[in-house]
Symmetry: C2
Subunit: 455 residues, 2 copies
């Protein structure tokens, strides 16, 4: 490297998104945006920088991960850490402008000075949908339907939204008689699938729960096993009414869950895409009602998304409770999974669809005319910039870029009123015999559309 | 405000984009993205934070506007200040991965600690298109065609891309004999339309240019007046060959401009959308060849975009010259102008298209069925979350949000197999007589599509 030249590098935990990654990211974001807008959610964007005091005191121990500094005007500022605190600020700031229930989606990067590792970045996108200002179970059910439709449209097949309620978990603690050790119960129960019944009881006891309370808790949780369809969810809710008879928070939780689950068929969510699961705990200090988590049954990874009802948080800048339910999509993980498991079939590496070669300078005007016709027909088309560089070099460029189709018009073709359509393989297989057909010049748009399977 | 509650506020120069603004922003960004992708440009995104040394030394005096701080690992970092330095870094870092010519577009926010004023923000979006790695005049011409198509698709009518070349400006300075005062000539010439011939000469003399040199310069520049169509641009180029006969940089500039201008009709750019303008100076310390600037002839504002060829900048991390030409769209100004001048006709205030009311709880399942049918037909539809809140309140919400169409189905309509379609005015005109029609329940999708003018 020459003297004085700065090394071209990115900070650890930060990524450039080159075109092939951008194609995938735009596909995923576009698909989810479409689902959100179909459901009447509106877009929101907030600034990267906020007053530090807007962010401070909201993230507990993780606050140390905030990027904070002092700006040119000696203001202490911080970079967006999540999309929930900015939502709460927006709700407080524009309470007289917004129409409530406020249904917004927000897809923006956030920053956390965390230790980078596989799948964990210092700059990453979050994708949140929230319904602010209603306690209606319709809102909770709509969140579940967003998960169903979002993952369906992305090409996922075996996935499910697990459902539970913070109120049921509280009721289980009360029913078991765990007192202040209730938290140990939830944390242990969450691992039932992993460590089994005796493992869970062991964890509870280690967490200070009495053996009797542990058994009573596990007996309740075991009632949720063996689910076949929605009727089992509703049966479970009915069966829990007896043990929770004297626990008002439990009855309230059952009423809310029942109302939500009964609505799911009306929202078009098929039976197998959700399940009441009493072991689902999920961020207890945050949620106040229903909780959701999306899991993939094909791929061994953590959750693909999660959310729930949190009635006490969004009002933090408004000085009152504002009932809110939200669904967060784990955008970076979704993108990683789609890429690794090739979900939804292969995507092109580029947004470019057709490459028009230029045989020589004399053929340039004709090549530009073809280019213009294809573009006008809605086909992403580029033309060779170096007319006299030769077909071989031009086709190599198109192959490197990942363009699948090239158009070749030499003087012979032009004389016959024809052009050649050549399918370009990946740049690697240069010995492959080119798949090439001749089409009439005036049928070029139709022929390209057939090749690209475009309407 | 209760004790201890933080005030909900944004930093000066930073903006929230609420849904109505987002609709406009997404429309503008989506329209430009479409044009870029039609031309084979690929998306790129780079991180908000870079090593400070990547950014330092690139922006001259404006470097003081950089947001810089020390991160958790004691690294000096800076926030993205423009999209050109990150492009140069990407080109240096992935030189073996990218296909050249690398045609990328990038639409991301940047940060400058500038004094906020009308139309100037500390956080704002830039929108850049660049072609890296070719000197071909086809690339320059394609940039002009992007301006033409981009503004056309946004609904602009009277606009023009002014064309010039840094090389012609250099040649004018040499021809005039201005020596080291050449810079004064360009800065003065740039104001010809504003201050007239004597004003320009006065400025030149004040800038240290001799009166003879000033006259020689102005005589050249005046040759570009009275342009009717492309033939006048080409005539002007031909006429300049005599005075520049012994100035090689001038002849090179004329050759390049002539090649680019002759290509514009092949790129489909009509005559009235561009003009050779010898007074266009534009950031002389940066550009090496053609320069462009888009001006609106309807609205009195600065330029809507600008760019040109800058062959020495993108190679700064690569240790060599990399010929590059780019077109920058003034996104924030474009958005402001579209909003103020209502260019392209009115946009909705929301992405939501239809609101389905719920007459009462007994009618909920039917309302959800209608909602689902409309969504499945590609119509952005939301349903009232409070079934028993009454039609009046529900319709007020829809009006406040800006949804133009509501569906009402009461028991009477249901018995007759009908629903009502109501057009909702802006929330203000609550005395307006509702425009309402009855349609058959099984024709609801078709009827809504007609109302929304959807295919």
């Amino acid at each position: 490297m020459p003297d004085g030249q700065i090394k071209a590098q990115t900070l650890k935990g930060f990524r450039d998104f080159l075109p092939a990654q951008m194609v995938l990211r735009q596909h995923v974001i576009g698909t989810l945006r479409h689902v959100f807008e179909q459901h009447g959610f509106e877009p929101l964007e907030t600034p990267v920088l906020e007053y530090a005091e807007t962010l401070e005191g909201k993230y507990g121990d993780d606050e140390r991960l905030l990027y904070r500094f002092t700006d040119h005007g000696d203001r202490r500022v911080g970079m967006r850490y999540d999309l929930t605190v900015p939502l709460a600020r927006v709700v407080g700031q524009y309470v007289n402008t917004l129409a409530f229930p406020f249904k917004r989606y927000q897809i923006q990067p956030v920053w956390r000075a965390d230790r980078p590792q596989k799948g964990r970045y210092r700059e990453f996108y979050q994708c949140d949908v929230d319904i602010v200002g209603t306690s209606s179970p319709l809102a909770d059910a709509e969140c579940v339907s967003l998960y169903y439709e979002g993952f369906r449209d992305l090409g996922f097949v075996n996935y499910q939204t697990l459902l539970n309620s913070r109120k049921l978990l509280t009721a289980i603690g009360i029913y078991a008689g765990a007192g202040e050790q209730a938290g140990s119960i939830f944390r242990a129960i969450d691992k039932l699938a992993k460590v089994g019944e005796t493992g869970v009881i062991g964890e509870m006891i280690a967490g200070g729960v009495s053996i009797e309370a542990s058994r009573r808790a596990i007996d309740i949780v075991k009632m949720s096993q063996g689910r076949r369809d929605q009727s089992d969810d509703l049966k479970l809710i009915a069966n829990l009414r007896q043990p929770f008879a004297d626990i008002p928070v439990g009855i309230a939780g059952l009423d809310e869950l029942e109302a939500m689950i009964k609505l799911l068929p009306d929202f078009g969510v098929p039976d197998r895409y959700y399940k009441l699961d009493l072991t689902l705990a999920r961020g207890l200090n945050y949620y106040t009602g229903a909780v959701f988590e999306v899991v993939s049954q094909d791929i061994q990874i953590g959750s693909l998304g999660g959310g729930g009802r949190y009635d006490e948080l969004v009002g933090m800048f408004s000085g009152r409770s504002i009932p809110t339910v939200g669904a967060s999509f784990g955008l970076e993980r979704i993108i990683d999974v789609i890429e690794e498991a090739k979900i939804g079939g292969p995507l092109p590496r580029t947004t470019s669809e057709v490459f028009v070669t230029v045989f020589n300078s004399a053929m340039l005007a004709s090549a530009l005319a073809i280019t213009g016709e294809l573009r006008a027909a809605g086909i992403n088309t580029e033309v060779a910039y170096e007319p006299d560089s030769g077909l071989k070099k031009q086709l190599r460029y198109a192959g490197n870029k990942g363009i699948s189709l090239a158009i070749i018009e030499g003087p012979d073709e032009q004389a016959k009123g024809e052009v050649m359509l050549r399918e370009i393989g990946e740049s690697g297989d240069k010995d492959a015999i080119p798949n090439q057909t001749t089409v009439r010049r005036d049928e070029i748009v139709a022929a390209v559309k057939v090749r690209l399977a475009k309407p």
